[in-house]
Amino acid sequence: MNWKRSLVAFAAGLPFVALLAFGMTRDPNQIPTSMPGQDAPTFTLPVLNAADTVSLARHAGEVVVLNFWASWCVPCRIEHPVLLQAASRYADSDVHFYGVVYQDTEDNAQRWLNQLGQGYPSLLDPGSRTAVDYALTGVPETYIIDRQGKVVFHRAQPITDLAEFIQLIEAARAGTLGPGGASS
C-alpha cells in the first residue's frame, strides 16, 4: 500500500461526499427566489395555436396565475390536473390562468395539451425572454401576481395540493398574501 497516494485519493473523494451531504440539507423542491414583492415584469406574448396575444397590462387590477411548463418536463404532468381543477374553479372570475411554454416546440406543446387537457390559454415565449424576466430556474414554476401587479408568490416545484393552492389564490385576491413568507 502506498499510503501517500491513498491520502490524496481520500482528499479527492471528500468534495463528492460533501456535495451529497449538502444535498441532504436541502429540500430538492425548495428554491430561493427573490421574485415575491417585486413588480411583475410585463409581457405581451402570442397565444399557442391562436391568432391572439396576451399582455399582462390587460389584467391590471386582477389576479394572474402564471405557470411555466414544457412537454418534456415530467413533473409538469403531475401538477397539470391540479392546475386544471383550480382554473376551472376560477373560470369567469377575476383570476386568470396562463401557461407559458418553456423551451419547447409548438407541436409538442399542443400535443401535450391535447393529451392532458387544456383549461386555459398557454403562451409562447420566443427566446425565453419572459422566463428570464421572471428569473425562472426550470420547469414547472408557478407565480401569482396580485391586483397591484406585484409577484406575491413563486413556487419552483409542482403544484400538487389543490386546497393549499386555492388558499394562496384567495389570499392573493384579498390582498393578504404578503411578499416574503409566501414564497416557497
Binding site: 502506498n2 497516494r5 485519493a9 479527492a12 473523494g13 461526499v17 441532504m24 418534456w72 387537457g117 430556474t137
Partner: protein, 674 residues
C-alpha cells in the same frame, strides 16, 4: 407472531453479519481455517434468516395482517393474491427487505463457489459482502423497518401503488432491477478482497466475471422491462425520459458494460488491471449512489420514495464505501501496473480502449446531467433542471460512436492486423453500411445522426453476423454435417465469444428500434362519436362504444375500437382504458391498447370521454419497429446466457507478448495453458 419472526430474523442476521466480518478478518490474521469456516457459515445462515424474514412478510401480506406497519401501508383485502405478493417491493421498507434477501442469496452463492480457491482474498471478500449486507439489515432494524406495530389495527388498507397493479411487467421489473443492482456487490466484494489481501493477480477477475455478467444481464433486462412498462402503461408512447431514477439504473450498466469488455484485455494481455478494478468499484458505487439519490430525497424524481432519516444512512454508507475504495485503489495502483503495451492501432485491444473511453464519457455525461442541479445549487445557490434536450444532444453522438465500435471490434483480431489486410476485413461490412444508408435514405431519413445510426447499425449487423457465418461454414468444411449442427458446434466451442457477438446483434436491433421509432413516429388526437372513424397512416380506427366495468378494487372505463387497414380489412378490436382505483382515489391510470407487430405498433390511448358515452378522445400513435427493442433485448439476454452457461472451466488463452525487458515493479505472471 409473524412480526416477531420477521423482526427477530433480521436482528439475528445483523448480529451474525458482524460476527462474520470479525471472524473472517481474524481468520486471515491467525491463518485459522476453522474460523474461516465459521465466517462462511455466517453467510449461509444469513441467507436462511433473510428468507425466513421475507417469507414472514409475504405471509403477513397474504393473510392481511394489518397490525404490521408495512401491510397496513400497501395491503388491501380487495387486491388479488399475485399483486399482494409483489407488493413486497412496492414501497420503501419492503423493497429494502427484498434487497436484503437478494443480497444474502448472492453472497451465499458467491462465497460457496469461491470457498476452495480464494484464501485471504476470499476472507476479505466475505467480510466486505457481509459489511454491505449488514448495512441493509441495519436499515431494516432502524429507519426502514417494515415491522412497526399499528394500533388500533385498521380493518383494511389502501392497496399498493396503482402503477404496480396495472401491468404484469411490474412483477418482473423490480426484482430484475434488484437482481442486477445487488449482484454488483459480488465483484465489488472480490475486488476489495483482492485490494485488502494484496492478492492482485487475476484471481478476483475469475471469481467475479460470471457474477458480473449475470448481474449485467439482469440489469439490462430490468432497464428494458422498465422501458416497456413505461411504454405500455404511462400512455405517452415513449419509453425513456432521462429521469434521475432511470439514469441511476443506466449509470452502473454503462460502467459494467465497459468492464465486461476491458476485462477481456486483462485476461488476454494482462493490461488495464487497475482500470478494471476501478470499473468494478465504480459500478458498485453507482448502484449505491443511485439508491442514495432516489431514497434520500436529494434529487426530486417521479420515482422517488418517501424521504426520511434513511437518507442520512445512505449517505454515510456511500461516504464509507467511496472513500474506502479510493484509499485502497490509490494505495495499490502502483502494484496493479499492466505488463503489455498496445502493438498496433488496428487491433481489438484498441477498439476495447475506445469502447471504454466512450462508455466512461457516457457515464460522466449522464452523471453530470443527473447531479448538475445539486452542483449548481451548492456552487451558486440557484436551482436548475436538466431535461431531456441536454441528454439527447450529448448522448446521441456517443451512442452512434458505440454502434460504430460494435461493428469494428469483432472484425479486428487481437494484437492487430497490417494496414493492407484491413481492406479485406472491412469490404463486406462496408457494403452492409452502404446498403443500410441507402435503405435509410429511401425510407426518408434525412438527419445526419439518424443516417449515421442506420449506417453503423447495418455495418455492425454484418460484422457480427459474419463472425457466425464464416465460422460455421469453416466448421462444416472441416467436420461436415448440417449448417445447424455446425453452428451449434461453433457456439459450443467458444461460448463466450459467440455469446458476445449475439449480444452485439441484439444491441444493434435495439438501436434500430430506438432510432426508427424516434424518427418515424406519427401521432394524432381525435375526439370521435360512436361509429365515427379516424384514418392515420395505413390504419382506420373506428370508435364503437364506451363501456365501464366494476372490478373488485377498481373501475375500468374503456373504449371499444375496431382497427382496419386502409383497404377496409378488419384487424381486430382494441380496448384502451382508464382505471380508477377506489382506495387510492384521484387520478385515473391509463392502459393504452397496443397492436404490436414487427414492422410497427399501433398505439392508442384513451384520453377523455363524455360521461354519457357519446364520445371519446383518443391519442393514436404509430411507432415503427418498436417491437425490435424488446426482441433485441431478448437476443442480448440470450447472448449473455450463452456466455454465462458455456465455457465452464475453459479460459481464453492469454496472448504472450514477445519478451521485453521486464518493467520495474512488474511481477512475473504464471504461464497460462488452456
Amino acid at each position: 407472531m409473524l412480526r416477531l419472526i420477521g423482526l427477530a430474523s433480521v436482528a439475528a442476521a445483523f448480529a451474525i453479519a458482524i460476527f462474520g466480518i470479525v471472524a473472517a478478518v481474524v481468520a486471515v490474521k491467525r491463518r485459522d481455517a476453522g474460523l474461516m469456516r465459521s465466517a462462511r457459515a455466517a453467510v449461509y445462515t444469513n441467507f436462511v434468516l433473510m428468507s425466513v424474514s421475507n417469507l414472514a412478510m409475504i405471509t403477513a401480506l397474504l393473510t392481511h395482517d394489518f397490525s404490521i406497519d408495512y401491510v397496513a401501508q400497501v395491503g388491501s383485502r380487495a387486491t388479488p393474491a399475485y399483486i399482494t405478493v409483489i407488493s413486497l417491493w412496492s414501497a420503501l421498507e419492503g423493497s429494502i427487505l427484498f434487497w436484503g434477501w437478494v443480497l444474502s442469496a448472492y453472497t451465499a452463492g458467491a462465497i460457496w463457489f469461491a470457498r476452495q480457491r480464494a484464501g485471504a482474498l476470499g476472507a476479505y471478500a466475505t467480510a466486505t459482502m457481509l459489511f454491505v449486507g449488514g448495512f441493509f439489515y441495519l436499515l431494516l432494524l432502524g429507519p426502514a423497518s417494515p415491522w412497526g406495530l399499528v394500533s388500533p389495527v385498521p380493518p383494511d388498507g389502501p392497496g399498493p401503488n396503482p402503477l404496480l397493479q396495472n401491468h404484469w411487467l411490474m412483477g418482473v421489473h423490480p426484482p430484475l432491477l434488484y437482481l442486477g443492482y445487488v449482484g454488483f456487490t459480488v465483484p465489488f466484494g472480490f475486488a476489495v478482497g483482492a485490494l485488502l489481501s494484496g492478492q492482485l493477480d487475476d484471481t478476483w477477475v475469475r471469481l467475479s466475471r460470471k457474477w458480473t455478467l449475470a448481474a449485467w444481464t439482469f440489469l439490462s433486462l430490468a432497464i428494458v422491462a422498465g422501458m416497456w412498462w413505461s411504454y405500455d402503461v404511462l400512455g405517452w408512447g415513449g419509453y425513456w425520459a432521462w429521469d434521475p431514477v432511470e439514469n441511476a439504473s443506466f449509470l452502473p450498466w454503462l460502467t459494467a458494460t465497459a468492464f465486461l469488455h476491458s476485462v477481456m484485455v486483462e485476461e488476454r494481455r494482462g493490461m488495464l488491471r487497475a482500470w478494471n478494478m476501478s470499473l468494478v468499484v465504480a459500478t458498485f458505487l453507482l448502484t449505491i449512489l443511485g439508491t442514495t439519490i432516489t431514497r434520500s430525497g436529494i434529487l426530486s424524481s417521479v420515482h422517488a420514495f418517501a424521504e426520511g432519516p434513511i437518507g442520512l444512512f445512505f449517505i454515510s454508507f456511500m461516504a464509507i464505501t467511496l472513500l474506502g475504495s479510493l484509499i485502497l485503489l490509490a494505495g495499490r495502483a502502483g502494484e496493479l501496473r499492466g505488463e503489455a503495451r498496445l502493438d498496433r492501432m488496428a487491433s481489438r485491444e484498441t477498439v476495447f480502449l475506445f469502447n471504454n473511453l466512450i462508455l466512461t464519457a457516457f457515464t460522466f455525461t449522464v452523471l453530470l446531467g443527473t447531479l448538475f442541479p445539486l452542483v449548481a445549487e451548492a456552487a451558486r445557490g440557484v436551482k436548475v433542471t436538466v431535461g431531456a434536450p441536454y441528454f439527447n444532444s450529448m448522448t446521441i453522438p456517443l451512442c452512434v460512436a458505440l454502434l460504430f465500435l460494435v461493428g469494428v471490434g469483432p472484425a479486428l483480431p487481437w494484437k492487430g492486423v497490417e494496414a493492407r489486410e484491413l481492406k479485406t476485413r472491412f469490404l463486406v461490412p462496408g457494403i452492409g453500411l452502404l446498403v443500410a444508408t441507402a435503405l435509410a435514405l429511401l425510407a426518408g431519413v434525412r438527419g445526419g445522426w439518424g443516417l449515421a445510426a442506420f449506417a453503423f447499425a447495418g455495418f455492425a449487423l454484418v460484422t457480427n453476423v459474419r463472425e457466425y457465418v464464416t465460422a460455421t461454414l469453416a466448421r462444416r468444411r472441416a467436420v461436415g454435417g448440417g449448417f445447424l449442427g455446425a453452428l451449434t458446434g461453433v457456439v459450443r466451442a467458444n461460448p463466450r465469444r459467440y455469446g458476445g457477438f449475439l449480444a452485439h446483434i441484439g444491441l444493434v436491433l435495439i438501436a434500430i428500434g430506438i432510432t426508427a421509432s424516434s424518427i418515424f413516429r406519427l401521432d394524432r388526437e381525435v375526439t370521435l362519436r360512436g361509429g365515427e372513424s379516424v384514418a392515420i397512416h395505413d390504419y382506420v380506427v373506428r370508435f364503437d362504444q364506451l363501456r365501464a366495468e366494476q372490478e373488485p378494487h377498481k373501475v375500468v372505463v374503456y373504449a371499444q375500437l375496431t382497427a382496419f387497414t386502409a383497404d377496409g380489412e378488419e384487424l381486430g378490436r382494441m380496448y384502451p382504458a382508464l382505471n380508477y382505483y377506489e382506495m387510492r382515489g384521484g387520478e385515473p391510470i391509463t392502459t393504452p391498447a397496443v397492436r404490436s407487430r414487427l414492422d410497427e405498433d399501433l398505439y392508442i390511448n384513451l384520453l377523455a370521454f363524455e360521461q354519457n358515452g357519446a364520445n371519446a378522445t383518443l391519442h393514436v400513435i404509430i411507432e415503427p419497429l418498436v417491437a425490435w427493442i424488446w426482441i433485441g433485448t431478448g437476443v442480448v439476454a440470450l447472448g449473455a446466457l450463452i456466455s454465462l452457461l458455456g465455457g465452464r472451466g475453459r479460459r481464453p488463452a492469454p496472448i504472450r507478448v514477445p519478451t521485453r525487458p521486464a518493467q520495474l515493479g512488474s511481477r512475473p505472471r504464471p504461464v497460462e495453458v488452456s
